[in-house]
C-alpha cells in the first residue's frame, strides 16, 4: 500500500513537471527560454516518473534499466538542447532580454 | 492438386539465378555486364528446365522451408505461370544481348543497369511463381522499385519526373493491393491463393478486398483512365528498359489480376467484368488516338502500349460466359505476341534514336539510310500490332473474336477490329517515313549489329508466334488454369 502511494505521488509530481515544462514551451518568449523550460522540466519530470516506477520494479535489473533510460534521456536532451541553442545563435537569434 | 516438385528444383533456380546474379553485379561493378550475361544464361536454363518439368509432370508446387501453406509460403507453376515465365525469359534474354551493345562497358549507366535489371527479372519470376498473396505484395514492391530505378537510369529531367510519377502511382497501387490482403486475411485467416479460393464468398469484406486489389492492380497495369503515368515513364527510359517495361512489367500486374480473378475473387459478377471491358475498349480508342498525335517516336510506341493493354481487359466481360477459357487464352496469347512485338518496336526505336540522335517524328524522313534493319524490324513488328495474319497478334485477336461471338456479345468485336485499324494508322505513319525522300544528310551514328539483329529477331518472332499458337495454348492448358477447355476447342 505504501509503495503504491509513493508511486502515485511521484508520478503525479512528474506529470506536474511535464505540464509546467509544456506550458513554458508554449508561453516563453524565445527559443532559449523555451529550451530551458522544456529540458529542465522534462528531465526532472522523467526522473520523478522513473523513480515512481522503480518503486514498483520486481528486480534490481529492472531498476537498473529504468535508471539507464533516465540517464540516456538526460544525456540526449542535454546534447539536443545544446545543438538547438547553438544553431539558433549561429543564425543570429538574439537571446530575449527585458 | 499439383504434384510436389520432384527432381531438380528448377522453380527455385528460376527465382534465385537472377537474384544471385544481382548480388554479384553489385559486388563486381566493373564486370557487371559479364555477370548479367551469365545470370541471363542460368535463368534461361532454369526456365526451360521448369517448362520441361511442367510439360512432363504437370503443374508443380514447391513448399518453401518444407512447411506448406497456410503456415509456410508455397511456390507454384502451372500453365499460366510458365507461359508468363517463358515470355519474360525470351524477352529478358534478348534484351540482355541488346543491352551489352546499348550500354558502354563499365559506364555509370551500365553499372546501374545490370543489378537493377537482374532484380527486375527476379521480381517477375518470383511474382509468376508465388502462391501467397502477401509474398506477392513483396514481389510487387521489388518489381516497382527496380522498374522505377531503371527508368531513372538515363538521368535527364524527363526520365526523373517520369520515374517519380511512376513510383508514386505504383506505391499507391501496392498499398491498395496490400489493404486487400489484410482484409482477406482478416476474413479467412490464410494467405495461400488456393486455400483462399475455397473460402471467399459474397461478403462485404471480400467485395471490398476484391475492389481494392482490382483497383491497385489496374493502376499498375495502366488501365485507362489510370494510364497517365505510363507514356512519360516508358518513353523517357533507355531503350532496353522501355522494352522491358512495356513488354513485361505491366503484364506482370495484369497476370496477378488474372490469377486472383480466376482463383481468389468471389464469383465474379458480370458488372465488374463489363466495367473492365468498357475501360479496356476505351483504352484501345484513347491510346491509339493519342499515339496518332504524338510528335516523338518513343511516345508513340508508349501510347500504343496503352492501347494494346486495353485488349487484355476485353477478356473479362467475355469470360463470364461459357467461352471463358477461349477468352482467357486469347488474352494470354495477346500478352505473348504484344510482348514480342513491343520489344521489337522499342528496341528499333532505340536504334533509330541512337543513329539519328533524336526521335522527332517530323524530322525522321529518310533516316532509314543509317539503321535500315531497325526500320524493317519496326515495320514487321507493326504487322503483329495491327493484327494481320499470320502474326501472333492476329491469332490472339482471332481467338478473342471467337470468344466474343461464342458468348453472344458480338459488340465486343468492334473494339477488337477497330483497334487494329487505328493501330494500322499509327504504324503506317512511321513506316511511311521510310519511303520519304531522303532529307538533308544529317549526322548519323552507326548502331552495333547485335542491337539491330535483336530488334529484328523479336519482330520476326512476333509474326512467327502465330504459327506457335497451338503449342502455346497446350502449354497454357497445363493444370487447366482456365477450367476444362483444351487447345483444340479454340481453333
Amino acid at each position: 500500500m505504501v509503495s503504491q502511494a509513493v508511486t502515485i505521488v511521484l508520478l503525479l509530481a512528474g506529470a506536474g513537471f511535464f505540464l509546467a515544462g509544456t506550458l513554458g514551451l508554449l508561453r516563453f518568449p524565445d527559443v532559449y527560454t523555451r529550451l530551458h523550460s522544456l529540458t529542465k522540466a522534462d528531465n526532472v519530470g522523467l526522473g520523478l516518473m522513473a523513480a515512481g516506477l522503480a518503486v514498483q520494479a520486481e528486480s534490481w535489473a529492472a531498476i537498473g534499466k529504468i535508471a539507464l533510460i533516465w540517464l540516456l534521456v538526460l544525456l540526449a536532451s542535454a546534447t539536443g538542447a545544446h545543438l538547438v541553442a547553438r544553431s539558433a545563435l549561429r543564425k543570429g537569434i538574439k537571446p530575449w532580454t527585458l | 492438386m499439383e504434384t510436389i516438385a520432384s527432381g531438380q528444383p528448377w522453380i527455385i533456380w528460376a527465382v534465385f539465378s537472377p537474384l544471385v546474379g544481382a548480388i554479384f553485379a553489385f559486388l563486381l561493378p566493373r564486370h557487371a555486364s559479364l555477370v548479367g550475361c551469365l545470370a541471363a544464361l542460368a535463368t534461361s536454363g532454369a526456365i526451360l528446365g521448369l517448362v520441361r518439368q511442367v510439360v512432363e509432370f504437370g503443374p508443380q508446387r514447391y513448399l518453401l522451408g518444407g512447411w506448406g501453406a497456410p503456415l509456410g509460403v508455397d511456390l507454384q507453376a502451372d500453365g499460366l505461370s510458365v507461359v508468363m515465365l517463358l515470355t519474360a525469359g525470351v524477352v529478358g534474354a534478348g534484351v540482355t544481348v541488346y543491352a551489352t551493345g546499348y550500354f558502354q562497358r563499365s559506364s555509370q549507366a551500365a553499372r546501374a543497369f545490370w543489378p537493377l535489371w537482374l532484380w527486375l527479372w527476379t521480381a517477375m519470376n518470383a511474382l509468376f511463381l508465388s502462391a501467397d498473396i502477401f509474398n506477392l505484395y513483396v514481389t510487387l514492391e521489388l518489381l516497382s522499385l527496380s522498374a522505377v530505378a531503371l527508368v531513372a537510369v538515363s538521368g535527364n529531367a524527363d526520365a526523373l519526373t517520369g520515374a517519380m510519377r511512376y513510383l508514386l502511382v505504383s506505391l499507391l497501387g501496392s498499398l491498395s493491393y496490400l489493404f486487400g490482403v489484410v482484409l482477406f486475411y482478416g476474413a479467412h485467416g490464410t494467405l495461400d491463393i488456393a486455400l483462399l479460393g475455397d473460402l471467399t464468398g459474397p461478403s462485404p469484406a471480400d467485395w471490398v478486398a476484391t475492389g481494392l486489389m482490382i483497383t491497385g492492380l489496374a493502376i499498375k497495369s495502366a488501365l485507362f483512365p489510370l494510364h497517365f503515368w505510363l507514356p512519360p515513364a516508358h518513353a523517357a527510359a533507355p531503350a532496353p528498359v522501355s522494352a522491358l517495361l512495356s513488354a513485361l512489367v505491366v503484364k506482370a500486374s495484369f497476370y496477378l489480376l488474372l490469377r486472383l480473378w480466376l482463383d481468389v475473387f468471389p464469383v465474379s459478377t458480370p458488372v465488374a467484368g463489363q466495367l473492365l471491358g468498357v475501360l479496356g475498349a476505351a483504352a484501345i480508342v484513347w491510346g491509339s488516338l493519342k499515339a496518332l498525335r504524338q510528335k516523338r517516336l518513343k511516345l508513340l510506341v508508349a501510347y500504343s502500349t496503352v492501347a494494346q493493354l486495353g485488349y487484355l481487359f476485353l477478356a473479362f466481360p467475355l469470360a463470364s460466359t461459357l467461352a471463358a477459357a477461349t477468352a482467357w487464352s486469347g488474352s494470354v496469347m495477346f500478352i505473348v505476341s504484344h510482348a514480342l512485338a513491343k520489344t521489337a518496336m522499342f528496341l528499333a526505336a532505340g536504334n533509330i534514336l541512337r543513329s539519328v540522335g533524336h526521335d522527332r517524328i517530323a524530322e525522321l524522313g529518310g533516316a532509314q539510310r543509317s539503321a535500315t534493319l531497325s526500320w524493317i524490324a519496326f515495320a514487321i513488328a507493326g504487322i503483329s500490332i495491327m493484327g494481320l495474319p499470320p502474326s501472333g497478334g492476329f491469332t490472339a485477336k482471332w481467338v478473342m473474336l471467337q470468344a466474343a461471338f461464342a458468348s453472344g456479345q458480338w459488340w465486343w468485336s468492334m473494339p477488337i477490329i477497330g483497334g487494329g485499324l487505328l493501330a494500322a494508322a499509327y504504324v503506317f505513319r512511321i513506316v511511311a517515313l521510310a519511303f520519304a525522300p531522303i532529307g538533308a544528310p544529317g549526322t548519323s551514328k552507326s548502331v552495333p549489329k547485335r542491337m539491330e539483329l535483336a530488334a529484328l529477331g523479336f519482330a520476326v518472332a512476333a509474326v512467327m508466334a502465330g504459327f506457335a499458337t497451338l503449342q502455346i495454348l497446350s502449354l497454357l492448358d497445363s493444370g487447366a488454369p482456365f477450367g476444362q477447355i483444351g487447345a483444340e476447342a479454340v481453333l
Partner: protein
C-alpha cells in the same frame, strides 16, 4: 477485468486513436514542412505505443526504430538538402519554391469531389472491417503448434525467419535493391554537418558503444522475446548515423569493395544457407529442427550488420565517392 479498468482501457485506447488521427492530420496539413516532419516522428511514436496496446511489442520496436526514427531522419535529411539547394538557387535568381503553398490549385468542385470520395471510401472500408468475423483464429494456433520445431521461442521471429523466411529474404532484397537504386541515382553529397562541435562529438563517443550494445542485445533476445534482426539493424543504423553526423566519416581511399560486401552480406548469407540446405537434400530454407536455432542466429547476425549499414547508407543519400569523405 472489473468495470473500472475496462473503462480505463477504453478511455486510453479511444484517446490514443483520436491522437493518432489528430497528429496524422497535423503531419499532412502543417504549413511548414519541418513542422510536418517533427509531427511525423511524434506520430511514429504514437503508432509504436498503439502497437504495444495491440500486444505486438516486436512491431512496436520496429515502428519506433524504423518507422519513426529512421524514416524521420531520412525525411529531415532530405528536407535540409532541399532547402540548402533552394538557398543557393535563390541567390542566383531562380524561381523560388514556396513549400508553404500546400495544395495544388484544385478547383472547389474537384476538392469537394475528393472529399466525397474519401468519405465513401471510409464508409466502405469501415463496413468491410465491421463485417469481418469476430473470432477468426488466423494462423496463431498453427504457429503455436509448430513453434517448438522452429528453433526459436518468439513466435514473431519464428514466422519471420522460419515459417515465412522466403518473405523475409525477399524483403531483405527490397532493402538491398533500394540501396542499389539510390546509388544509381546520385553520388553522396559531400558533407552532412558543418562543424559538429565538441559536445556533439563527445556525446557520440559515449553513446555509440551503448547503442551497439543495445543492438546486440535486441538481436540476441529476438530468439525468445521481442526483438530481432530488423529492430537491431535499425538501432545499429542509428549508431552509424550518429557517427556520420559527428563528422567522423572519412572512408579509406581506394576500393568500395568492403562496403559493397558488407551491404550484400545479409542477403548473401540468407541465400547461401538456403542453398546449402538444398545441397543436403532438403528443400530451400528447410532448417533441420536441431540446427534451426543456430542457422537462424547466423542469418540474423549477418542480416543485422547489413541492415544497419544499408539503412545508414540510405541516410547518406547516394553512392560514396572513392577516396572522398564518406
Amino acid at each position: 477485468m472489473d468495470v473500472m479498468s475496462l473503462a480505463a482501457n477504453w478511455t486510453f485506447d479511444g484517446l490514443l486513436a483520436l491522437a493518432l488521427l489528430w497528429v496524422g492530420w497535423r503531419v499532412l496539413a502543417s504549413t511548414n514542412l519541418f513542422k510536418g516532419i517533427v509531427f511525423f516522428i511524434a506520430f511514429g511514436l504514437l503508432v509504436a505505443l498503439s502497437w504495444v496496446r495491440l500486444e505486438a511489442p516486436d512491431v512496436a520496436l520496429a515502428e519506433a526504430a524504423i518507422g519513426a526514427g529512421l524514416t524521420g531522419a531520412l525525411l529531415l535529411a532530405a528536407l535540409s538538402r532541399l532547402r540548402r539547394r533552394q538557398d543557393s538557387a535563390q541567390a542566383s535568381d531562380q524561381p523560388l519554391d514556396a513549400e508553404t503553398s500546400r495544395t495544388a490549385r484544385l478547383s472547389l468542385g474537384t476538392q469537394a469531389l475528393l472529399i466525397v470520395f474519401s468519405a465513401v471510401l471510409f464508409v466502405c472500408l469501415g463496413t468491410a472491417f465491421l463485417s469481418l468475423p469476430p473470432l477468426t483464429p488466423g494462423l496463431g494456433p498453427q504457429v503455436a503448434e509448430q513453434l517448438s520445431a522452429s528453433g526459436v521461442t518468439n513466435p514473431v521471429t519464428a514466422v519471420l525467419l522460419n515459417f515465412r523466411a522466403y518473405d523475409t529474404l525477399l524483403e531483405m532484397g527490397v532493402l538491398f535493391l533500394a540501396l542499389v537504386a539510390v546509388w544509381s541515382l546520385s553520388p553522396a553529397p559531400a558533407q552532412l554537418v558543418t562543424a559538429p562541435g565538441s559536445i556533439l562529438i563527445s556525446f557520440v563517443r559515449v553513446l555509440v558503444p551503448i547503442v551497439v550494445l543495445a543492438a546486440t542485445y535486441l538481436l540476441w533476445i529476438g530468439a525468445y522475446a521481442p526483438g530481432g534482426a530488423f529492430q537491431a539493424g535499425a538501432v545499429l543504423a542509428a549508431a552509424v548515423v550518429l557517427i556520420l553526423l559527428a563528422g567522423e566519416n572519412t572512408m579509406p581511399a581506394g576500393s568500395t569493395w568492403p562496403l559493397r560486401a558488407t551491404l550484400s552480406l545479409g542477403l548473401g548469407v540468407f541465400v547461401a544457407v538456403g542453398m546449402s540446405l538444398m545441397g543436403m537434400g532438403r528443400s530451400f530454407l528447410d532448417f533441420p529442427t536441431d540446427q534451426a536455432g543456430n542457422l537462424i542466429l547466423l542469418i540474423e547476425v549477418a542480416a543485422t550488420v547489413s541492415i544497419g549499414v544499408t539503412l545508414a547508407a540510405l541516410f547518406l543519400g547516394g553512392q560514396p565517392q572513392r577516396g572522398s569523405p564518406k
